[in-house]
């Protein structure tokens, strides 16, 4: 059987066998997506990684077809998008899928991140998965921002102007950097051209980092709602068919939401700002320049500091601090189910981010200034003070002995209440 240099495999199909002996892709798929031992107690929050992946695929496919009909010039961009909407076969559907997909991408990714925060998925040994995830978030934000500029509506133009100008806050070299980013002295044709080029490039870099994200995941294995380590085969199930089918249920529900937005309310202002139905006009500033909803919390942080450089530092800091989360959180317990203080702080942190988003959507006047500042300070206090301190002070609830013991109802150490019944999936 084992000839010199050929990879052994057990595939019956001769073609598959022949290929796998030379390029073991089938063995790899079998190991990573069929056998891959997965904790048996996932809840539906563990769907969101798969949902984000499906979303990425939808964005790349619809994006390729949009690019075939798009004209990346300030003179032609707006009209070419309208041509897609009116005259290209199914163009309206492809574009609405892309527009709605951008928003849903952030929904899936944000739920995925908050799930990781609650269940401590960033802790040892999963630090690398988490940090690659933060890189993915930054890439996603950059891609979304540049994509939003392409239709060349009023909000495209003015959003691009505001965001690129943030780099002007950097001392000494700031203005030079902004000119370099623009390729000129204002957001104009060279800016649009390079944003189009980068908007096409970055998704494929995202795919690359996603592969690394999943490689790291498959090296150390998945976390689970109990946050305890897998003790043996009785705690796990093969990924296929158990989690392929469970992810499929999630994907179906998510597609229903997707379809309702695309076919019935694509012009909901959160999905498409009405101002972007007006062609970009550098001589006319809209009364309010508001970023897309998924950037609003960060926008609120930016505006809560009365100093431009300070605001920019806190804005970028609010994301970069995530890289250090595995070391900022000092608690040895992963899941907030067993962290009586942190679970409430997590709830408050989620509320805090919503408050930031709400503040970001309103003009910085009156109560919104104070509210934005409180919420910004709370964001940083949570990251820099609560996570290190509470980990040391909090007395965690007793952990169940193992996943399967917890599932079968026995086995919890002194307090049985600590091991909550698994949600019925």
């Amino acid at each position: 059987m084992a000839e010199l240099g050929l990879q052994e495999n057990e595939f019956k199909n001769p073609v598959v066998h022949w290929i796998d002996a030379r390029l073991p892709v089938f063995t790899a798929m079998h190991k990573e997506y069929r056998q891959f031992p997965t904790p048996k107690n996932f809840n539906y929050f563990w769907n969101f990684g798969a949902l984000a992946t499906v979303n990425l695929a939808i964005m790349i496919i619809t994006g390729i077809f949009l690019a075939m009909n798009y004209n990346p010039s300030t003179a032609g961009a707006f009209d070419s998008v309208e041509r897609i909407m009116r005259d290209v076969n199914w163009g309206w559907m492809i574009r609405y899928l892309h527009v709605v997909g951008a928003s849903l991408f952030f929904v899936t990714v944000y739920v995925h991140i908050f799930r990781g925060l609650y269940y401590g998925s960033y802790k040892k040994p999963r630090e690398m998965i988490w940090m690659l995830g933060v890189v993915l978030l930054l890439l996603l934000m950059a891609t979304a921002f540049m994509g939003y500029v392409l239709p060349w509506g009023q909000m495209s133009f003015w959003g691009a102007t505001v965001i690129t100008n943030l780099f002007g806050a950097i001392p000494v070299v700031g203005h030079g950097i902004v000119t370099w980013l623009w390729g000129g002295f204002a957001v104009a044709n060279p800016t649009l051209n390079r944003f189009f080029s980068l908007h096409y490039l970055l998704p494929f870099i995202i795919v690359g980092f996603l592969v690394l994200h999943i490689m790291a995941l498959h090296t150390v294995g998945s976390n689970n709602p109990l946050g305890i380590d897998v003790k043996g085969p009785q705690d796990t199930l093969p990924f296929h068919p158990y989690y392929t089918v469970k992810d499929s249920v999630g994907v179906c529900v998510y597609l229903i939401v997707f379809a309702i937005l695309v076919f019935f309310i694509p012009h909901q202002p959160l999905l498409m700002d009405p101002n972007n139905s007006i062609q970009a006009n550098p001589l006319q500033t809209p009364s309010d320049i508001v970023p897309e909803w998924y950037f609003l919390p960060f926008y609120a942080i930016l505006r809560s500091v009365p100093n431009k450089l300070g605001g920019v530092v806190l804005l970028f800091g609010s994301i970069f601090v995530l890289f250090f989360l595995p070391w900022l959180d000092t608690s040895p317990v992963r899941s907030c189910r067993f962290r009586p203080i942190m679970r409430w702080l997590w709830v408050l942190f989620v509320i805090d981010v919503f408050v930031l988003g709400y503040v970001g959507a309103n003009r910085p006047v009156g109560i919104f200034i104070l509210l934005g500042r409180i919420a910004t300070v709370w964001y940083y206090i949570h990251m820099l003070i609560f996570l290190p301190l509470v980990g040391k002070l909090e007395r965690p609830l007793p952990l169940p002995e193992s996943i399967s013991k917890s599932v079968l109802g026995g086995g919890a150490l002194p307090s049985a209440a600590a091991a909550r019944p698994m949600e019925k999936a």
Binding site: K40, W92, L237, C252, P340, F368
Partner: protein
């Protein structure tokens, strides 16, 4: 723990106590549109009347560059009617041997011609306040067609103490209240082919319906397909969930 609960309660209070954003203009009137909701469709008779208003009133100043004569099929015009409508309008023709272009009768594939040859000409004619293009107007404002309807019905005599500069008109729904557009409609401004009395609210409603169609020519088709897509997906979700239950039936979880 108690402190945290208190902090959360305080936060909730702070949120509920937020003042409503300062209103410069009254809230938009409540208007019924045939195309509202997931099953609503565009009222073709109203849209045709609206097209008449557009043609006889709006198009004197507003361009509609993204819209083609052939698109009128979407509101029930026959190919013959569309050909006749297009032929009744002069559009720029192809250049002759000297490179000069002279107007020719339009064809269904032509875009609606603009009332001004260039943007600069429009700026010159309107002291810089160029009437916005109407192709996407129904999507370009919060409220959409309701906003258009409100503006067309919103002209009033200015309240005492407000001076309206020359070239501006007082409109209660326009941000800042001073709009450069003179009141475009008056009762009987058009004579409807179907005999509908041409009151200002009627014409405003009709033309807003037409402009909604112009901005969203695929809206009816989109919703019709959407109903099928959602029903299909609900069915597939049911099947997938049943499969999931079956696959997991042998697992203690």
């Amino acid at each position: 723990m108690r402190t945290l609960a208190l902090a959360a309660a305080a936060l909730g209070l702070a949120l509920s106590a937020l003042p409503a954003a300062a209103q410069e203009t009254p809230p938009l009137p409540r208007v019924f549109w045939s195309f509202e909701g997931p099953f609503g469709t565009i009222d073709q008779a109203a849209a045709q009347r609206g097209y008449q208003v557009y043609k006889q009133v709006c198009s004197a100043c507003h361009s509609m560059t993204q819209f083609h004569f052939r698109d009128l099929a979407g509101i029930g015009y026959t190919p013959e009617q569309i050909a006749a409508i297009a032929a009744s309008v002069q559009v720029p023709g192809p250049p002759n041997a000297q490179g000069q272009s002279s107007p020719v009768p339009g064809k269904p594939a032509d875009a609606f011609p603009s009332p001004f040859p260039t943007q600069a000409a429009a700026e010159a004619a309107f002291n810089g306040a160029v009437p916005p293009d109407q192709s996407l107007m129904a999507n370009a404002f919060e409220g959409g067609p309701t906003y258009i309807y409100a503006i067309l019905n919103g002209f009033r005599n200015p309240p005492p103490g407000i001076t309206v500069p020359p070239g501006r008109y007082y409109n209660i729904y326009f941000p800042g209240n001073l709009i450069a557009m003179p009141p475009p409609l008056h009762d009987g401004a058009v004579t409807y082919a179907d005999g509908t009395p041409a009151t200002v609210p009627q014409m405003a409603h009709d033309v807003a319906t037409f402009l909604y169609f112009v901005a969203n020519p695929h809206a009816d088709q989109r919703k019709r397909i959407g109903v099928h897509v959602v029903l299909f997906l609900v069915f597939v979700t049911g099947l997938t969930y049943a499969l999931k239950r079956k696959v997991w039936s042998d697992v203690e979880h």
